[in-house]
Amino acid sequence: MIMLPTVVRNLFGGPATRMYPVTTREPFARARGHVEFNEDLCNQCGTCARRCPAVAIDLDKEKKEWILHPDRCIICEVCAEVCPKDAITIAPQWRAPFYKREAIIYHSKAVKEKGEKSSE
């Protein structure tokens, strides 16, 4: 009987759940959803790969590739914090589930050519 007021309130109140996936909630502004990479800014300094706690970032200096393993990434935001060029950002939308462990390959376009003075 003590539960009755709560039960009656629930009878007239709306449901607490959403009809997912028909209705979805907008992610919160500063939520950590997934890693976004800006190819134009990266100079392959490698700080992100060294500091990543989950070994989710690889660099291929020969091919000037920046490789993200989304299956290892724990979205801790460390890479975005340490990037000196702000090439990495964290977007609030979560990444959809995937079936294959595939790396995402980006090309770093801000790498200085040989002979030019390195910014590191």
Binding site: T6, A16, R30, A31, P53, A54, E77
Partner: protein, 360 residues
Amino acid sequence: MAPRTITPFGPQHPVLPEPVQLKLELEDERVVSVLPAIGYGHRGIEKACELNEYPKNIYLCERICGICSAIHGMTYCDVVEKLWPLDIPPRAKYLRTIWAEMARTHSHLLWLGLLADAFGFESMFMQYWRIREKVLDILEITTGHRVTQSVSIVGGVRRDIDEDQKKHCIEVLKDVRKEAEALNNVLVNDYTVKARTVGKGVLSYDQAIALGLCGPHLRASGVKEDCRTQGYWAYGDLSFEPVIATGGDSFSRAAVRAGELYQAIDLQLEAFGKLPEGELAVKPKGNPPANEAVSRVEQPRGEVFYYAKGNGTRNLERLRVRTPTYANIPSLLVMLPGCELADVPIIVLSIDPCISCTER
């Protein structure tokens, strides 16, 4: 004498979300003796922490437990800071306190829901978890994630709570308190709840001390012992008094957690009111020096103990974690013999077992 049978309780059991096995020796429906078997969830996190560089361990330590993950990360930072020793800014201390109490709020709401579920009060279980969702939402708004908050770093915190978020949090917390009061009223006064919890798994004051228990489990037996009385982080500035109950049974444990739920919300509101301005973090100089440190922090389930030993490199030489459930499991050997088989789930749940913490 009736024939005795041995019944395995777990490692997969509807009432236990995590793997632990209790070998129950039964005489008809009555438990004669019990033998807990742990080791199903060992992941070698302590060893992995020695192989990682020290700032990376924060994210690993947070994964020791899914419910008190924020406090694990903070305690790790706390113990590594003590190696220098490093004094963190006051605002960081307050923010850590706020997030730790938010974690306690949602952990106790989770446990109260699970208790209701254990004795078949499904609607109350859903109601508690409905409220808990609001707390998880403010955690996500302020820290960026519902479960693994990852807000603490060695030297302070990574994120700030701005004025808008603060206002929103205070509003939500007041709302949560109001709704929790209505539900806790059911928990404390309902006949069915009392019939299933009062007098089940009784531990006296002396037994609780002799067994070396910790957390709400200890306080339910009337022992006024709480790590937060040490005054770490901002607890020294806040008005804090441990919540105790004297019954020592499952009902008292529920009452203590219900009381701590209000207390956690009050502490957050007080900390929001006193939140000082200033820096969020200090940068540690060099690597952790060759030194030893110990940190004791009150988690929702009890006292967590971290020991760290540095050796001047970027890796720690040793990290040791002792979690509250490990201290509380021996009490099952005293509480369970003599009880009915039907009461076993409630008594086991009343210690708030967290097996992934225990085994790491």
